[in-house]
C-alpha cells in the first residue's frame, strides 16, 4: 500500500522569502509523484509532476520539486513567495497514474 506524509500542517513565511514544503512517501513499486494546490473553495490544480528522468522538476508559478528515491522524498520549493501563493498544498503518489493517494496537506501562509 502507498502512503504520503506531509511533515508540516502549516508553514508561515514572509513575502519574498524562500519556502520548502516537505513530502515523504512509501511505496513498494515505482511511483509517479505530484504536487497539487488548492485555493479556498476551489478544486485541485496541478503544480508539477515527476514521472521519470531528471529528479528536479519545474512546475507552474515558479515552483520546483526534487525527487529523492533514497530518502523517498519529494519536497516542494520556491525561492521567493508571493502573497498570492497562500493556499493549501497537497503531495500525491500513484503507482499507475490513476488512483491518487494524497497527504493531509500543508497550508502555506504568506505574510506581508
Amino acid at each position: 500500500a502507498q502512503s504520503v506524509t506531509q511533515l508540516d500542517s502549516q508553514v508561515p513565511v514572509f513575502e519574498e522569502a524562500p519556502v520548502e514544503l516537505r513530502c515523504n512517501y512509501s511505496s513498494s513499486v515505482s511511483v509517479y509523484l505530484f504536487w497539487y494546490v488548492q485555493y479556498p473553495n476551489q478544486g485541485l490544480q496541478l503544480l508539477l509532476k515527476y514521472l521519470s528522468g531528471s529528479t528536479l522538476v519545474k512546475g507552474i508559478n515558479g515552483f520546483e520539486a526534487e525527487f529523492n528515491k533514497s530518502q523517498t522524498s519529494f519536497h516542494l520549493r520556491k525561492p521567493s513567495v508571493h502573497i498570492s501563493d497562500t493556499a493549501e498544498y497537497f503531495c500525491a503518489v500513484s503507482d499507475n497514474g490513476n488512483k491518487l493517494v494524497f497527504g493531509a496537506g500543508t497550508i502555506l501562509r504568506v505574510k506581508s
Binding site: V4, Y32, F34, Y36, N41, Q42, G43, L44, Q45, L46, K49, L51, S52, F90, A92, S94, N96, G97, N98, K99, L100, V101, F102, G103, A104, G105
Partner: protein, 114 residues
C-alpha cells in the same frame, strides 16, 4: 476547452436521505475518478469509472455507488446519508492509457448533512 465541471456546487441534506452528484469530464478524457475531502484532510479515493464500469474502488462502504454514461459523464450516489458524509466531493478526469498523466479536478460539490 471546458475543464471538469461538477454540479451542484453546494447541497444540504439530512441524515438518511440519498444524494446524487454529477460530473462532466474534460474534453478528450474518458476516465472519471471520485474523491471525498473531509474538512482539514486530503482527498480520499472513492472509485474510478472507465467504459461505464467501476475499475478501482477505495475503502468506502456500499452506500457509495456510481455510474458512467456513454458520453463519459459520471454520477456519484450516496444512500442513507450520515453526518460523517459531510465533505467536499471532487471529481477528476483523465485519459485511460496515458500512464502518469495527471488527473484534472473540478471545483467540487460541498455536501452538508444536517
Amino acid at each position: 476547452d471546458a475543464g471538469v465541471t461538477q454540479s451542484p456546487t453546494h447541497l444540504i441534506k439530512t441524515r438518511g436521505q440519498q444524494v446524487t452528484l454529477r460530473c462532466s469530464p474534460k474534453s478528450g478524457h474518458d476516465t472519471v475518478s471520485w474523491y471525498q475531502q473531509a474538512l482539514g484532510q486530503g482527498p480520499q479515493f472513492i472509485f474510478q469509472y472507465y467504459e461505464e464500469e467501476e475499475r478501482q474502488r477505495g475503502n468506502f462502504p456500499d452506500r457509495f455507488s456510481g455510474h458512467q454514461y456513454p458520453n463519459y459523464s459520471s454520477e456519484l450516489n450516496v444512500n442513507a446519508l450520515l453526518l460523517g458524509d459531510s465533505a467536499l466531493y471532487l471529481c477528476a478526469s483523465s485519459r485511460q492509457g496515458a500512464v502518469g498523466q495527471p488527473q484534472h479536478f473540478g471545483d467540487g460539490t460541498r455536501l452538508s448533512i444536517l
